[in-house]
């Protein structure tokens, strides 16, 4: 068995142990799984008929959600792109700078958007702007890390060529690296945009406006048919963005 070594057994045992411990922690219960039927019942009984008369209003709300996700991630991309050059070991200004930028990115990344959202909703007031800031901050951390890793993996050859034509360090890096990593940057961007749509829904639930807020309002007032309508809109929204991302990526690559 060429592919398998004895050490593999140790790994498998280790993972099995971790699975067991986690299962205990989440109170995994097979009995509850059989009650999934109740969930289905709940959906069947309460979600229909959908309330299509809410469509114009919900579409308006979904524009807010979309705007939060779009502006938040686009602004994050604009900020993260230059920062990621400072956070990549191959292009950073100094060792100290590298660690400083890298760890500040980890720091903003480690705070979930909902925590930022809760803080901004209190300090800046309810509404989509608080959600926008939360999405922006978290994504600067995420995109900064992802792009800096792309930069580190970029081929060093063109960078050397740009050095040898006598270009300045920064200009040389920009010209030799950005064209190389651009399709992957866009790929990451669209994925983060898609994630941000879902995030801004969650942020809506804590007062960040948009579709999420409507959803929460319907839920709290037991208007389940309206809630179901909102859920359908959300699904369509995410699928449309995914398709758009696919089209743009194809054109760029």
């Amino acid at each position: 068995m060429v592919w398998f070594r004895k050490r593999l057994i140790v790994y498998v045992l280790f993972i099995a142990l971790a699975v067991l411990l986690s299962a205990l922690k989440v109170e995994l219960s097979f009995v509850a799984l059989f009650q999934l039927e109740n969930t289905w019942d709940f959906i069947q009984r309460n979600f229909w008929p959908l309330r299509w008369e809410l469509l114009p209003y919900l579409l308006q709300q979904s524009l807010i959600t979309l705007s939060v996700a779009f502006l938040g991630t686009l602004a994050a991309l604009c900020v993260a792109l230059p920062i990621s050059f400072l956070a990549a070991s191959t292009t950073s200004a100094s060792k100290a700078g590298y660690y400083a930028v890298r760890s500040s990115l980890s720091l903003v990344r480690s705070v979930p958007e909902i925590v930022f959202g809760l803080i901004f909703v209190v300090s800046l007031g309810l509404g989509p702007f608080a959600a926008l800031l939360a999405v922006f901050l978290h994504n600067v951390g995420v995109l900064g890390k992802l792009i800096s890793e792309l930069i580190e993996a970029a081929e060093p050859g063109p960078q050397e060529a740009m050095k040898s034509v006598g270009s300045s360090r920064r200009i040389g890096q920009i010209f030799s690296i950005i064209p190389q990593i651009w399709p992957n940057v866009l790929s990451h961007y669209f994925y983060r945009f898609e994630v941000a749509i879902r995030t801004s829904l969650v942020l809506g639930m804590i007062g960040g406006g948009g579709l999420g807020q409507s959803l929460m309002n319907y839920y709290n007032s037991l208007a389940y048919e309206a809630m179901a309508t909102a859920i359908i809109i959300i699904m369509i929204l995410v699928i449309v963005v995914d398709i758009m991302g696919g089209i743009v990526r194809k054109r760029v690559i």
Binding site: G157, V165, S168
Partner: protein
């Protein structure tokens, strides 16, 4: 015009120097081919001339200036006068042939001009001229990754020529090309060498190419200069000395 004085380069974590105590002068307008097995120090030698490789000991002078003592700005100015071509071409992927050729000007322009792609009419004309000279006109708007190896190297040469250099350095520029294409690349380089009175220094594996085109041949072995003379002086004994296998008991198995 180029002189090396006791140049030694030892790479980090290596005990044997890559170049050891090299002293030689290169006059304006020479066409030099550097022979040697891989790992003999040819690449290191070429890269000390434009300061891509720092020295452990000794000094390199180009036009009377000591390369290692220049400020960043002066180093850049020095490099703008030296075109360099590479074994793996080091073109910028996803840019077109013409865009790649124009990057040869990056060292001689202001940052904003580079970023916005503001090239003077004269520069564009110059690019068109070299595209024509190197038979690339019909590929001008094609992306470089779609070219063959020989075409890529011609783009590399055009990029180097865009600098209007007085020195042309080549780090194994034909090592990944077919023999017939290698010869045509050398022919192009010699034409440019003669037209522009370029001082040309090229690493090459192929002794026949060196004998055919060089006005002077250098040979390196384990970082030491073991031959320096006219192509006609390169005897079979010297040839076998350059390429002889290390004796078996010196090898680490």
């Amino acid at each position: 015009m180029i002189s090396l004085e006791n140049v030694t380069v030892t790479y980090e974590k290596e005990t044997e120097p890559a170049l050891s105590d090299l002293t030689l002068r290169i006059e304006e307008g020479e066409f030099i081919c550097v022979l040697g097995r891989s790992g003999a120090g040819k690449s290191t030698f070429i890269r000390t001339i434009n300061g891509l490789q720092a020295l452990t000991k000794g000094a390199v002078y180009v036009s009377g200036k000591e390369v290692g003592q220049l400020s960043e700005k002066e180093t850049r100015r020095l490099r703008t006068g030296m075109g360099m071509i590479f074994q793996h071409f080091y073109l910028i992927p996803r840019l077109t042939v013409k865009q790649n050729v124009l990057t040869g000007r990056l060292g001689q322009k202001k940052a904003y001009q580079n970023l916005l792609g503001l090239f003077s009419e004269q520069e564009i004309k110059q690019a068109d001229y070299y595209l024509q000279e190197l038979g690339l006109t019909s590929f001008a708007d094609r992306r470089v990754e779609h070219l063959s190896g020989g075409q890529k190297q011609r783009v590399g040469i055009a990029r180097a020529m865009m600098q209007e250099p007085y020195i042309l350095l080549g780090d194994e520029p034909v090592a990944s090309l077919d023999p017939s294409i290698s010869d045509s690349i050398f022919r192009l380089v010699r034409t440019l060498h003669e037209q522009r009175h370029l001082t040309t220094i090229i690493n090459v594996h192929d002794v026949d190419l060196a004998k055919k085109y060089a006005t002077r041949i250098l040979a390196l072995k384990k970082g030491e200069l073991i031959f320096d003379g006219q192509p006609s002086e390169l005897s079979d004994e010297v040839y076998s000395l350059i390429y002889e296998e290390e004796s078996l008991n010196n090898r680490a198995f």
